[in-house]
Amino acid sequence: MRTPPPQPVGVSARHTSVPAPTALEADPAARAHLIVAATGNPAVEQLVKTLQAQAAHSSVEVLVASDDGEAELEEQLRTRLERATVGLRLYVAGSESLVRRAAALALACGLERDELRTQVTASPARRVWCTHCKTITPAVTTTIARCDGCARMLEVYHHFSRRHGAYMGYQADAEMPGELPEPEVRWA
């Protein structure tokens, strides 16, 4: 069994596409605030308090999310963004998967990066986009994972697409079929 490849060190934090951890930061300059999160999320409670104190003139709306209702939430968010006007800020807190899906949707609806604030507050499991069949495999916790679409064993690479809201995966044993590195649990 070949040894796993060494940790990639070639990409600096400044240049990597992998999102850095961020926090929900209130933007009092906005006219409307839309928050997407599960109820009882402490980061959101703090945000709402800050907005009430600093941005009393603007509207605050909360879309309640549950991690298993992601598809439904996406529809609600899309509808809301399609009628939004410039002046809106979107805040998303929840699992890695929820946050990245919501951000990808916001991008598709014309939201700019400085109009979005996110915070991963729940499962760090990643969405992985398969280079070969283009399927996105949700909730990947290990460095090597089976593709839901084509069953290839994918290495989860340190490249992230904002458009897909997913990390790039490619066939881990493409060069020597059957020779796979030992998977590590890294995002559970």
Partner: protein, 320 residues
């Protein structure tokens, strides 16, 4: 840099008492290059001293048969715009730099709000042609002083009647209330582009920001910076030890160029950052709009197109 275009002045027309339009055709039989909307050309204006001034191309981006520029005369300047008004006649040959662009429309925008004050309308002429051709929705707010209409207004009325909002607004009282309404109701994906006199631009940016527009949606083209008085000073090139004098009617950039030092440049107005030079010793007098506060305070950089030395020098530059 170094590549220039030879053009012949095909026509000269006054669009207003202080605004002159020049139509420039190629002087050597080859079509002029097409350009992206928002581009400008640097015109080498003849005079006792050649002034290189940037002017927006106020024509369709595919107008390769002739370029058009509209130049507002500024009496308090160093003579570039005066030269355009006084020294250029039809038939004259001119040298211009090829089109460059520091103000292109945002490609991902689903809609554009364009705001022009006075001569700031010029970059939006090429925008209007392009956006119409691509069927991208936009609105163009054009405020001018003259009751009869600002330069290029008739052409814009023909080109984009539904998009155009014109304000005969000598006191500036009409534009901001109108924008107050317009900027509240733009669909997500709209971008704002502004060009005009500095106080007007600052007021529009202030209003948009107060209405929740983030910096990523606000795009500006500033037409130059007030350069102030120009005292002579000396410069030393750190590499060779050579010294030169920057006279009172010359910019540091011009003095370096006249001395054979090739410095990259673009706007020549203190805005774009292209001509930045490292300072080894001496104190720059910063007059640009480019350097951030930390760089400015460190005095490790200078923008030679507009900035000077805080005293008689020598300002020592990291040049060979």
């Amino acid at each position: 840099m170094g590549v220039t275009l030879a053009v012949r002045v095909a026509a000269v027309r006054d669009l207003a008492p202080d605004v002159r339009e020049l139509v420039l055709e190629p002087a050597n039989g080859h079509p002029l290059p097409p350009f992206s909307p928002g581009s400008h050309v640097v015109v080498h204006v003849p005079g006792e001293r050649t002034r290189k001034n940037a002017y927006s191309l106020a024509c369709a981006p595919w107008a390769t048969g002739a370029y058009r520029i509209a130049v507002r005369r500024i009496d308090a300047g160093r003579g570039g715009s005066r030269g355009v008004h006084e020294r250029i006649a039809p038939g004259d040959l001119l040298t211009i730099d090829p089109p460059r662009n520091l103000f292109a429309p945002i490609v991902r925008a689903r809609r554009h709000v364009l705001v022009a004050g006075g001569i700031g309308i010029t970059p939006f002429v090429s925008y209007a042609h392009q956006l119409r051709a691509e069927d991208v929705p936009f609105e163009l707010h054009y405020a001018f002083r003259e009751p009869a209409g600002g330069p290029l207004l008739d052409e814009l009325r023909d080109l984009c009647p539904d998009a155009l909002h014109a304000y005969a607004d000598p006191t500036g009282a009409l534009l901001l209330p109108a924008l107050d309404v317009a900027l509240r109701d733009q669909p997500l994906g709209t971008h704002l582009s502004v060009c005009g006199p500095a106080p007007m631009m600052d007021a529009v940016v202030g209003r948009a920001t107060a209405l929740g527009w983030p910096p990523s949606r606000i795009h500006l083209e500033r037409f130059g910076v007030d350069t102030g008085t120009m005292e002579p000073f000396t410069v030393r090139l750190a590499g060779s030890g050579r010294t030169l004098t920057v006279g009172e009617d010359v910019t540091l950039l011009e003095a370096l160029e006249e001395d054979g030092v090739a410095v990259p440049f673009l706007c020549r107005q203190g805005i774009c950052g292209e001509c930045r030079l490292a300072v080894v010793d001496g104190t720059p007098d910063h007059r640009d709009l480019y350097l951030n506060p930390q760089d400015r305070a460190s005095n490790a950089w200078v923008m030679p197109c507009v900035s000077r030395c805080a005293d008689a020098g020598p300002l020592v530059l990291d040049l060979p």
